[in-house]
Amino acid sequence: MNFLKLILIDAIFDVLYFPLWWYSKGLVLAIRWVGRSILELENLLGVSIWAKNIFTPMFGQYDLQGRIVSFFMRFFQIIFRSLAFLLFSAFYSVLFVIYLILPVITIYFIALHLSIL
């Protein structure tokens, strides 16, 4: 039965380790996840590619009209795509903030409601 004790001690340490992990290694993972998500978002929307090519005509239309139409087309595309990008980035940031405060809030409410006992 010696090892049952061992396992119990192990379990208790594991629970105590959990908040520590949440704000250290877990935090790093969360930051990486948000970073990766935003990069994928940029990959999907391609804002920077549109911006880089703002003066490059679309579909190889190198005449003046093509250039003018392309410029405005790209201009509006960049605006809408940037908006979408900001919106989704904000969403990811909110998720990250929730990650940061959720354990604290939970413990606060637990302490609060404990007074009923």
Partner: protein, 875 residues
């Protein structure tokens, strides 16, 4: 053992780089229940957390129900202490804890280390203070559940047997794991038969269930091998491989079951490849989401390319759907291609024979493009494969030129294309070469990266001799060796298995590679082996239905159909062939016991485990007068050994008497010669050199090299492999001497010695004679042997008559008459054929043409002058 006992003070493990690897899993029988209960406990905790989480959510809903839905948004709802919300928040905390637990478990794996293959590691015991500067890695954390369990079961088994845990114990418990069923199923060996053998040889060592050092070493090696293979877990298949590598007994047992280390390693790879194929499929689906789907690039600068589309296909498009082949073992080629492209060269031409995997490499590039794992010039582009046959086919040179220019205009305009031009050798037909110059000009204008491919022949004539040489840099694509070819088949087989519903055994794949390498010479690995397993898969499916196993014999059948070589010759091992050599030969050769004996013994001697691999299978010199069976024996050897008496390259050396004739053999500069080309086409054959003594001495030097090194270099600079031939040279030199000595009753062995020492030295140099595995003396034939030979020849004729429904009987007296007419002391049995043609065949022909015999009649030659025709039944 002491290493382990030092556990209190130090830790046993391996130092590598900045790391110290140690085993932190179960070590003794005491650890096993702890590990087990721990796993159970963890499962229990997870389940409890989930259940409690659900309960908490229910409590939240209940509270909402109690206070009314509107209360949910009131501060008082949350801030008034109550039991339901307390439970909810406790449960939420529990769920957070659960989330952290599974995330931690998923990130347990320590990144594979930088270990170079072939490094040797030794277990050392390290004290805590020694380890301060090292990152310590518990390899047990990277072990899969199955491999961990196998070890624990091995510990318990060893405890029961009152022994230390030896590799064999671990092997036994490993055999119970599901992966092993697949592994040994592929090898076609029931697990039970292996188990029985291992149990019979289970050894003991004092230790009561503690880990033996050898097992500790195995565990650490398993981790290292898994890291080298870039696996994310140390799985049971790799553990199995390492166990076998470490145990001499297991190696012996498996060797008895016809499994050697290489075979096992390839099957372990097979299991891995299939895991990776699955993983690749999933990864692809994810990565391809972000790639543009249509013909447009992401910057939307590209232009529609209608003409180009008509004459090409988009490989990146297929790659996105995973509709291209899995590319194995071509890292070197990728590296070369990208190095050339990054050095701002215009293009790459892959040079290799048809079927060696040039387009598989291009497909691999497309796959890397999908993952954007390519140099900048290739990013955000489409890989377009041009179809030269559609451009050049059915058109005059002028039309084809116009098409080509239109296509290249599209390429130039589009701006997002990497061009792939396979089969440059198509330019060789018609006006092609002038079109190649046109292509070079166009390519110089458009400045897109180009990946072309062609055969060595095509490279020489289309690229080297035209302006294309200024555009392309050459990357060699060699035919993969047999081992790599097997691994490629392991990947290819997955799709065939999926389509046909049959399964391949490892031996089937190995046979496909070995047999096609041996008997199908006009095509190259791996393509020819893939074609064979495809056909075999379909054949087995229609013969035995789905879920059947394709074995070696099924493959041999297909190869036999293609090569016209009997199945038995393919499946029978060399050993069996060698053992019954005399018996088979004597079915065809009458008399010449000493010669047959000498050849058989020499062949066996030359092959009995002493294959240096650098000489022909055997080299023989047959001496004796004409018409005594020298050529016949050579033909027989070809039939027995290579399955077909046509498997023979025959050279009449009397045609090679001048010095210049060396060039006819090996070719002038830039050409291939008759001999080298013949052996390149059929490297598994008998090389018969008639009347060797008549050849020019320079030619003899050529054969001296063949016999010594097993290779020749032709005029093109290609090295031709002669290690799979049997070289037989015949010579009449000294036949008078032989006849004289035989008459005088001298023994064959003595005659041979005298011949080699005295008579032959005027024709051949002694070092040349020494290269032969056997100098075989044929004696003149006796008359009674001629009678038997006549009998053999008659049997052949009788067989022909049988197909016409007529029976032919030639009685003893007639045979003797034939022998007498056909025997000539000078020419041996050679005139016999002519005599039989005159005396028997001519007469039969007359009878047939004259309508004297009908079906079911019987012709009896009592003697050559007394012929009877027995009328057959009338129907």
């Amino acid at each position: 053992m002491n290493l382990l006992k030092d556990k209190q003070r130090g830790r046993a493990g391996i130092f590598t780089g900045d790391y110290f690897l140690y085993w932190g899993g179960a070590m003794t029988a005491k650890d096993v229940p702890i590990k087990k209960i721990k796993r159970l406990w963890n499962k229990f905790i997870d389940a409890a957390l989930i259940l409690f989480g659900l309960f908490g959510i229910l409590n939240l809903f209940y509270q909402v129900y109690l206070s009314g839905a509107r209360g949910f948004f009131h501060r008082s709802f949350w801030l008034t202490p109550n039991i339901h919300l307390l439970i909810f928040f406790l449960a939420l905390f529990g769920l957070l804890y659960f989330a952290s637990r599974i995330t931690r478990a998923a990130h347990f794996f320590e990144n594979p280390l930088k270990i170079s293959a072939g490094e040797k590691f030794e277990i050392k015991t390290a004290l805590p203070e020694e380890l301060k500067n090292y990152k310590q890695i518990d390899v047990a954390r990277s072990f899969s559940l199955h491999s961990e369990e196998a070890l624990e079961e091995a510990i318990m088994l060893a405890k029961k047997e009152k022994s230390a845990v030896l590799p064999e114990y671990l092997f036994l418990t490993l055999l119970n794991k599901p992966k092993m069923k697949i592994l040994f199923g592929r090898l076609g060996i029931p697990i039970k038969s292996i188990k029985d053998r291992v149990l019979r040889h289970l050894s003991h060592k004092e230790g009561r269930g503690g880990l033996d050092v050898s097992v500790l070493q195995i565990l650490l090696n398993t981790y290292i091998t898994a890291a080298l293979h870039k696996n994310k877990k140390a799985r049971s298949n790799i553990l199995c491989l390492e166990v076998v590598k470490a145990s001499a007994i297991l190696k012996e047992i498996l060797y008895d079951l016809n499994i050697n280390e290489e075979k096992l390693e390839n099957v372990v790879k097979w299991v891995e490849i299939q895991d990776k194929l699955r993983a690749r499929y999933a990864e692809f689906k994810q990565a391809s989401v972000f790639r543009p789907r249509g013909k447009m690039n992401r910057a939307m600068t590209a232009v529609q390319t209608p003409v180009l589309d008509r004459f090409s296909e988009d490989i990146t498009f297929f790659a996105r759907r995973g509709a291209i082949d899995f590319c194995i073992g071509r890292e070197e080629s990728f590296k070369n291609i990208f190095r050339i492209i990054e050095s701002k060269s215009r293009g790459v031409v892959l040079v290799g024979e048809r079927g060696v995997g040039k387009s598989a490499i291009i497909d691999g590039v497309a796959e890397l493009m999908i993952k954007e794992d390519v140099p900048k010039d290739f990013q955000d582009k489409r890989l377009i494969r041009l179809s030269l046959s559609e451009i050049l086919g059915g058109a005059t040179g002028e039309e084809a030129g116009k098409k080509l220019m239109a296509v290249m205009t599209d390429v130039a305009n589009s701006g997002n294309i990497v061009l792939d031009i396979p089969n440059l050798e198509y330019f060789l037909s018609g006006d092609g070469i002038s079109l190649a110059a046109l292509l070079a000009e166009e390519l110089n204008k458009v400045r897109v990266p180009v990946l072309a491919s062609t055969t060595p022949e095509g490279y020489k004539r289309v690229v080297e001799e035209t302006a294309l040489s200024g555009i392309f840099e050459r990357v060699e694509v060699p035919e993969p060796d047999k081992n790599l070819a097997i691994q490629i088949l392991e990947a290819e087989s997955a799709q065939i298995e999926y389509q046909t519903g049959v399964y391949f055994s490892y031996d089937a794949l190995a046979a496909a590679v070995n047999l096609s390498d041996k008997y199908l010479h006009d095509r190259y690995l791996p393509e020819k082996a893939v074609a064979i397993i495809k056909e075999a898969g379909l054949a087995v499916k229609s013969a035995r239905g789905v879920n059947s196993l394709v074995n070696q014999e099924d493959i041999a059948k297909i190869v036999s159909e293609k090569s016209k070589i009997p199945v038995s010759a393919l499946t029978e091992g060399e050993k069996e062939k060698l053992l019954k050599l005399e018996e088979v030969i004597h079915n065809r050769i009458i008399g010449q016991e000493e010669a047959v004996d000498a050849v058989s013994r020499a062949l066996r001697r030359a092959r009995a485990g002493m294959e240096s691999g650098k000489r022909p299978i055997a080299n023989f010199l047959f001496l004796g007068p004409t018409g005594v069976g020298k050529t016949e024996l050579a033909k027989t050897i070809a039939e027995v050994y290579f399955g077909n008496e046509e498997a023979m390259v025959r050279l009449d050396m009397s045609e090679y008497q001048e010095k210049q004739s060396v060039y006819r053999m090996i070719g002038k500069e830039g050409e291939s010669g008759y001999l080298t080309e013949a052996i390149r086409k059929s490297p598994y054959a008998l090389l018969l050199l008639d009347e060797l003594e008549k050849a020019h001495p320079d030619i003899l030097n050529l054969f001296l090299q063949v016999m010594e090194d097993g290779r020749l270099t032709d005029g093109k600079g290609k090295t031709i492999d002669f290690t799979n031939i049997i070289l037989v040279a015949t010579s009449n030199a000294g036949s008078d001497f032989i006849a004289r000595e035989i008459k005088a009753g001298t023994k064959a062995l003595q005659i041979k010695e005298m011949l080699v020492d005295e008579k032959l030295s005027q024709y051949f140099r002694p070092e040349f004679l020494n290269r032969f595995d056997g100098v075989v003396v044929f004696r003149p034939l006796h008359e009674d042997e001629i009678v038997k030979i006549a009998g053999l020849l008659i049997i052949k004729i009788a067989k022909k008559m049988e197909t016409k429904g007529i029976e032919l009987v030639v009685e003893e007296k007639a045979l003797k008459e034939l022998a007498k007419l056909g025997f000539d002391p000078k020419f041996g049995a050679r005139p016999l054929r002519r005599v039989i043609a005159r005396e028997i065949e001519d007469r039969l022909a007359n009878m047939l043409l004259g309508g004297k015999v009908k079906r079911r009649d019987k012709i009896i030659f009592h003697s050559l002058s007394d012929i009877e025709i027995e009328q057959g039944r009338k129907i």
